[in-house]
Symmetry: none
Subunit: 428 residues, 4 copies
């Protein structure tokens, strides 16, 4: 006695790997499939369509198969409304809650497909009916920079944003996922299917990233830079400061250490005590680091330190001068920290989340911790550039299913100056 | 004015990724396709079939598309005999020679499909017509452990084995490639599609490798171990020696250094001068290494040193005592070398090639150089286990398209003893 | 009845590290020294001089000490001619041959010091007396681009260049080595002094760590374990839980992720969705992770979840049951987090600091972030064990100047079970 | 007009490296020393004593020298009380605060040496006078598990624990540091002394290497480049060819693969089939590689191929045109090989040895195998530059005791072009 369900796939389902993934899922999970209709796109612009019945021994197995198929873009052929279950308490999800992918997603509510706003991986989906009242609408428009909506709407919520009574989507019905399709034409930014190699022609790759960066800015897009302290230690500070000054960076995400090293370099010409020009190690080492923090604390914060002339160069200086929003997230490794550093992890994560959702392009420069935190919040449609000397870091960061990503195993100390040269040379 | 060609795919072409790969190739190479017939396997055991016309702007583009499709298992719908062009000189291939994949391959000669013997990546295919005479037939049977054939036959040849007059396959017609299909049931050994993670439960994975090793031996298969010096330095020597003694290793591939370290351990209790039990460093260091080589030279070689009682334990000792064939390949880093080491790279490569073609399962233990050399000669149907502390090494070695491979980023110093415990425990 | 020998050092022997190295050698090799004369260079250009008598229990030990001292530039005070022994055959060195360093070297022949030409590490030294005749002289000038010499000369030979009859230097007398001195002025090019190697015998090292762990506990010391999520993913959870249960862990420092993975394993048999026994990937993936957090939130925290029977195995369970204090520090990557996680970085750092100051031994298991945070707070007298698959992590963590530290580049998935076996086996 | 200060060291100051470190500090920081008294411990249990006057040009330099000496255990000979300065605000340290090491430390207060409690690196020291009252005493005993003290006491405080009014130690007087001494007996746990860090300012380091390269050439020295295939794959080929053409390379050591990739790039614009400009992958892949070898074989070798115009750009081309001697060593991984490749390992090693002995400076670019082979033959006086993306490779290569070496963990694809720019820019 087996159970079954009919699902459909459409689009460029063969060359995007959707068909392969879906067949694999059914077989891996001990199900069976019976293809009822298959129309292959006869040419590269024509889309394909597949309808098949998936069968399993029991409802639990079937549910887990259908859940996985969902995640890969196969949707039930007989759309019904999504099930909604109220959360019983703050930060508690109902049994069987739907856990999101990072792909564009729709949820069916009262016969209508609602786009899920601020899509992000591993979240719950909460539906807000139309009659919820004004406050929520205002909140929504604040969050999404969208005009006040009157109708019902849906959004993702991370576990700790769930409030008692939230209508959380449970089960697998009434949800449509749209994984990214393989682009029809060739691009600098690859369609990610795993595998990162260190041996690629570095300068050519950088020039293509420069081109994409210029294109994003020309189209009015927003660029988020996620930067680790190695950017300062390896001497890439001035080049990054130039990119900020010239308007190629809209937001900065970093840690307390990054900002301190950057300001220490301005104040003392050192980074963790080492002179980044002469390689001299004045051997006062960490003391400059602590002084730097102490002085910024005395001033009241970074903008205040810039205002009173304490800091007059570098990445943080340019951010302040050019109204580039920066988020400094605290960590247990920090000295100090600076008054500008958000020490609460949840609060810091929410600040990063806001940046991630606004960004059209993200450049992750030599920081695993902050890049993972930002990457967790990104929809699969955002362009991602990831640069690190450690191949494992690059692999891990690109392994999130972004549709347009490029990874480079290289040294930020030469990457950022070379990138800045390409970007700014093309300008003049 | 465009040119076109009809190609066919059959088998589990969707879930094995063949369809996806082929559509991708046509688009990447600026071709177009027109699917004329597509029968999808309705269930997981039913095979699929696709026939499509591939079109390109010019014959050169079409040829490169068709070449790539070949490599992924799409064959021309209108089979003709393969083109054969005689090699003009030793070690010189004709223009347009067919370069092999590591998948099972057939070549069409006088209307008949001949399997290509000893398939290996990046080689030429040479066809031997029936009337070639006795010598070649004898050579063939020697190479392949097969009864004397009377009819025509085909084989791969590396560039430097090509002889003037050899009939080399050129062009893309008359060749059929069979890439491995995704197994229908789940297995310990994965169907490789890129991506290696360091974070897998180590002991469970090792126990599954042990099981596969026992299964291969139970089926009368041959096991080749490719071992680097780290096996000795990290203290895994005794465990590997046990596996040899108990009959779980049929062939050993290593370098001069491996054998010297192993024998040094027997003679002096050290490996490169460090006592591997007490961690004491007697500080005679490299001297033991040189002495070891000097003594084996005096004896005349490793088997002679074993015979005269100079060596009475360890991996090399067990190989000699148990008639396990070993190939020691020389390198520019070597001290000595031992008389048993093959110093000529071509000769050593040929010895490795013979081992690779006989093996049913290959275990690559902490050596990039030898593992790449062996891996280059393996058909895609051989089981491969690859263990290294460096994730990049594991990724590179598994990236050869083996159908059944498992990679572990772990320490051979704990891997081999744990494996030996699992294998030999199950025995008793 | 002991034996002794007088040796001399001269030059910038203190700041070049020669004195330190020589004192260390004598102590490591169980010898004793008696400094008879010591003239320190009073200023940075003045050279120093040291003459000391080295004593050992037996001639073999003395010889090995004197050999090592040689390699570091200490020469016997009573120069005699070097011993020369003819090679008995091609490529065979005489017993007791002198094995070279790569430093400039002289050999004493007929009362005269000859520079050893073409110095190179790990070679033999061959002396050519003056009357050798024209061919050798010609060979020498060809090799060295030097004018024909008339007198005797010496050179290094690699093993396989040794010819029967070559006069090979044996023993330790009549040789002077000149290690490079630390440059007096600063330069771009550093003075290199060793590094960190991954290739040490793993099982022996682990057994010594086990011994130290037992000793610390026997002395009433406290053990702090700093653990990353890889401990769970690689299957080392049960072994660590055993160590906690058996009283070998007094404090635990980890992140939110570690605790969630550990509890998820208890609840669902998975870690981030992967079954750590069967390697099956139930494909519900991250959902178990979120559920786990949600349920612990509902219970009110980990101790409450243990109390109500929600969690009944694993590391966190054993910590609760055995009153082992745990500190879970939050991070911007976290899901949830659990109610037990300290989300404020400063507060978390203070909690870690308290643990760090109480610990007598710290084991850092596969977590860079938490290990750095703990390491920052440690006095240099605390014993540190650091295990990671990434050599760079181990190097960075040991680079804090601990007086008693051991680093292993290995896989925690095999390290922790092996450690537990050693620790607990010795117990019974 | 110079200033000076008398400092003392005592304990096992030689074998613990303290003397060496202190002499090094004075020299690095442009000071001078005059050893007034030196009593060496005559045996391994006897302690040593050194008193010396340290002189510098100005008080600031002297202070920084004395600060560093402190950190390494040298204390002023004329003990005075430590200076105490009240903190002006919470989380703000006074100018000139003393920044701690992680070694046991004492501070002198009212003529008495107080141990600094809870010692930890990079903190301030706060002294609590005796009359502070009950609360602080209670706090202290809570923190330290110690009985209530009545007298004055001292502790470390991290920046953010500093409260307004805290008496913070400033300056360098009245403080004693006790670095750990090398244990007298052997232990499992090593005495750690630093490592290798990847984070150095890349462009500055490269400019200094460029300067050294120019200096070596200006002095008539010879430069040997040891290059791996990554030089070609990462796009550094043209820059290396320029350096050869401009006379900055006298010898080249590489493998068969390097030369083939270089010539393939000339012939087909690809390297292993990938276009290094456009990143296009013509998908003929390995075939170009085999063709390249086949054509050079037909020509008779690389110089012949250059002579007949088959090759007209690249590294090998410039070597032939500029009479730069190249040694191509064969390996078991090779395709072909080229007729110029030396396939016998012994013969190849001898050729490398000749190059190594002639070189005054060696640049090792992304090849472990060839770099180890060359490094084995180098005297410790040869300048070595080692560049690799893998930190383990750099560490291993620098671990040969060279007196003048610089290692960079960076990407050759950006390193070589940047180096060529610096070298050739300075020229014009």
């Amino acid at each position: 006695m087996s159970v079954s369900r009919v699902v459909e796939l459409e689009g460029h389902i063969i060359d995007s790997g959707m068909m392969q993934a879906c067949f694999g899922i059914v077989m891996d999970l001990d199900g069976a499939f019976d293809v009822e209709e298959f129309r292959v796109g006869r040419s590269k612009t024509e889309e394909s369509y597949c309808r098949m019945t998936v069968t399993a021994e029991d409802p639990v197995t079937l549910q887990s198969i259908v859940h996985e198929l969902h995640q890969h873009g196969a949707n039930p052929a007989d759309p019904q409304d999504a099930h909604l279950t109220p959360a019983s308490a703050d930060r508690v999800v109902p049994e069987g809650f739907y856990s999101t992918t990072n792909h564009p997603t729709e949820v069916r509510f009262e016969g209508e497909w609602l786009p899920v706003e601020r899509i992000e991986m591993d979240c719950a989906v909460v539906v807000h009916p139309a009659d919820e009242g004004g406050d929520r609408g205002a909140e929504r428009s604040a969050l999404n920079h969208a005009p006040d909506g009157e109708g019902p709407w849906a959004e993702t919520k991370v576990l700790n944003a769930i409030e008692a009574g939230d209508l959380v989507v449970t089960g697998e019905t009434g949800i449509r996922v749209h994984p990214p399709e393989r682009p029809r034409e060739k691009r600098a930014f690859g369609f990610m299917q795993g595998g990162v190699s260190a041996e690629r022609p570095s300068e050519s790759t950088i020039s293509q990233i420069a081109e994409e960066l210029r294109r994003v800015k020309a189209d009015g897009g927003k660029v988020l830079v996620v930067a680790g302290p190695a950017v300062i230690h390896t001497g890439a500070r001035e080049a990054l400061a130039r990119l900020v000054r010239e308007g190629y960076v809209d937001m900065l995400s970093a840690g307390n250490g990054f900002a301190v090293h950057d300001i220490e370099r301005d104040r003392y010409g050192t980074s963790l005590g080492m002179d980044t020009e002469t390689l001299d190690h004045p051997r006062k080492g960490h003391k400059h680091h602590i002084y730097t923090i102490s002085e910024v604390i005395r001033a009241g914060g970074i903008p205040e330190a810039v205002a009173e002339g304490l800091v007059d160069s570098g990445v943080m200086y340019e951010c302040v001068e050019n109204d580039v929003e920066f988020v400094l997230a605290g960590s247990i490794r920090d000295d100090g920290p600076l008054p500008d550093t958000i020490t609460d992890a949840i609060e810091a994560q929410n600040a990063l989340r806001r940046q991630a959702h606004e960004a059209d392009m993200v450049m992750m420069l030599s920081t695993l911790l902050h890049s993972v935190a930002v990457g967790n919040c990104l929809p699969s449609t955002t362009r991602v550039v990831c640069v690190d000397i450690n191949p494992a870091t690059v692999t891990q960061l690109l392994d999130r299913g972004s549709a347009q990503a490029v990874g480079m195993v290289t040294d930020v100390g030469t990457f950022v100056p070379t990138l800045a040269d390409y970007v700014l040379a093309e300008e003049s």
